[in-house]
Amino acid sequence: MLVSWRYKYRNSPMDHIDPRARWIFSFAFLIAATSTWNWIFLLTYFIIALIWYRLGNTTWKETRSGWRLVLFMLFMMIVINTIITGGGAGGVVPPGGQLVWPNGFKLFGETVHFGLTIERIWFAFCQVLRILGISMNFILIPYTMDARSYGATFSSLGMPDKLAYTTELAIRFIPSLARNFSVTMDAQRARGFELDDIKGGIFNKIARMAPLIIPVTMNAILSSEDIADAMDLRGFGQGKRTWLYELRYHRWDYIVLGFSALLAIGGLVASYVFHMGDFIVPQFFYNLFA
């Protein structure tokens, strides 16, 4: 069965903003945040995102599974890609730069030369601001947006009806998949299967995951056929449809829409017209390593 994200009405300020205005704000934020590497802009966006996030009144307990995933990805991106290999900084951070340990450092009696630069550390900080800001916008949606509103919202934003409803189903497919995965995991554990026991190389590991992957995939295919049948039997996709969920803009929504336009257009103009969005390291940060 298709399940929904754990939405609950909290009577929070976010509950009173029209879903269309919320989606528009989140995408405007995404445009603005991805158009710059300037720390002042990113810090400003981060503060805006933090205020926006607080409007949702969610708790850490509710959202922690989503945040765990974000923090894991952030760790991989920042620590491994940017700090250790320097890969993520290419194209933004100019080559060269000021080494943090120009003479290397001692580890177990040996001198280690590690080419970490001050610029790469600052770039990692900018990445954190950008990713956390964007994540705060989108993590909030499943927990604070009524599951009934998705299709009507997308349709109202100009998506064709069929696509709008199937997008709604696709969004709900994620928690449904997680639920199916958990049931299959239990069924296979009951047959003595332990995920921790899987050893060997990457291909062996993937092959040994078959008892989990195949039933979950097959179920997803079968249930999508059932869903298609259930939709067909009630005349889906045969003509123009109406939506039960009622959307109505209020005064607050116009303020949000205006701010969204300002954010996206202002961000793009500042970055691409006035070239204010370039990556710079502030002097006070250099001073810390002096």
Partner: protein, 540 residues
Amino acid sequence: MVEADPLPLVVRDLSFQYRSRTEPAIVEISLELHPGEIMLLAGSSGCGKTTLLRCINGLIPHSYRGKLSGEILLYGQSNAGMKLAEISQKVGTLLQDPERQILGSYVLNEVCFGLENLGLPREEMIRRGEAALERLHILHLRDKETFGISGGEKQKVALAGVLAMQPKILLLDEPLASLDPASAHEALHLFRELADQGMAIMLVEHRVEDVLTIEPERIVYMEDGRICFHGDIQGLVQVVDYHRIKLPAQVVVERAKAEPQPNFEPAVPPLDTNNPLIEFQQVHFRYNDDAPEVLHNINLKIHAGEVIAILGHNGSGKTTLVKQALGLLKPTKGKVFLEGVETHTLTVAKAARTIGYVFQSPSQMLFAPTVKEELSFGPKNLGFDQETIARNVQWAIETVHLEDELLTPPLALSFGQQKRVSIAAVLSMRSRILMMDEPTAGQDYWNYQAFMDSILQMPGFDSIIFITHDLDLALIYANRIIVLNDGVIVADGKPVDVLQDRQKIKQWRLVATSLLELNFQMYPKTGKFLRAEALAQFMD
């Protein structure tokens, strides 16, 4: 001269063969359905019942391709040229599993889904949606999440979604399969009410005995895609093989008198109450801190020699209870011991050496390229040697009568066969305790009785535990019945003691069957509960 109104449904010489199959699924089916009539469509799994429904509601040929011939008239008009949206306003279909039919995340959205597709104005949708909920006496569910309501309520919500479109013909595909006995009887009476209001209903169902209580006007019995019987109840009980479909116990007893008596002796060892295999001590459970408690103060000991049926209404906590024994769920408060070891200290894989647990849905676990490999998976995980694995696989496959399918991919089998493979996959682990969650759901009568007989007669299990909604299954096979009601054990004991009080049975949302009544009548002679065929030998 006044011209008679055309009938809601006329099927003429209908045949269909799926594109991927070599044999036709249905052959030259002809029938008529009148307004206000209920037609029961019975037959074993794979006999073509669902295919016939798909032809009527237009899924064939719109969604399923193949060779179709013959004619279907809906109120005198062929459905061949109609769009699905047009058919869906004449023919409403309720699928077997409401979980697979419900699309909306909230009840009113689900009920109005079809109306949205028809492009109706919002006010009209709400009016028709609420009217449909009111008609089924579930208006109080209007703003609930569909995921959180019980199985019986889901079934009614799915039906409300169909009724909101105001069809004149209703097709019901095994609508009782996932319902507890009381919910099933409520649903049946609802169908009768709808028919009495003028709706034409075609009802596909394995639970024939239950359906007979609402006196369907016509009964069609199918085998191998053909109609073998078309008539009334009296004709059916005389003609049809009572091993194939479940008939009222009195009818079976009468007909079984002339036949050799079944020989059934369960193979579980004698009762040993000294060392409990499983013990629950003051167990409470909730799924998370915010969720309500599902199990309340469960105290229970399970011993070698017991065959236990766990009964209870939809959502009473049956599955949650048995999952505690295997350690798939851990108590929020209290302790569970498996052979004296607390499950908190055991991994599920270790517990699986003692308990074999068959899940409700086979598709959640089947993955291997062949049935043989599927059956070897569990024993391999438990570290058995090759010779033992081969022996266990052979024994398991014979128990479920699927010897010819050893090299077939399990996912290519029918649902009923997949269910038997999933049971065999657990049997091959040769655990001391076998736990089965709804082992007979979705199976036809002959198949489930055959494999339950096989399992109960196989030596090797110290105890067998099964969850069921089928009261007859419990009284035939179990020597102990546990009844759960809202997470509390409300009865625990011998079947004859637990099922004595009809008032309590009703309170627990169970329904006394004809077999139960007959067993109580015959109890002074038999001294135990027996299946209908076995009761025949005690009749004068």
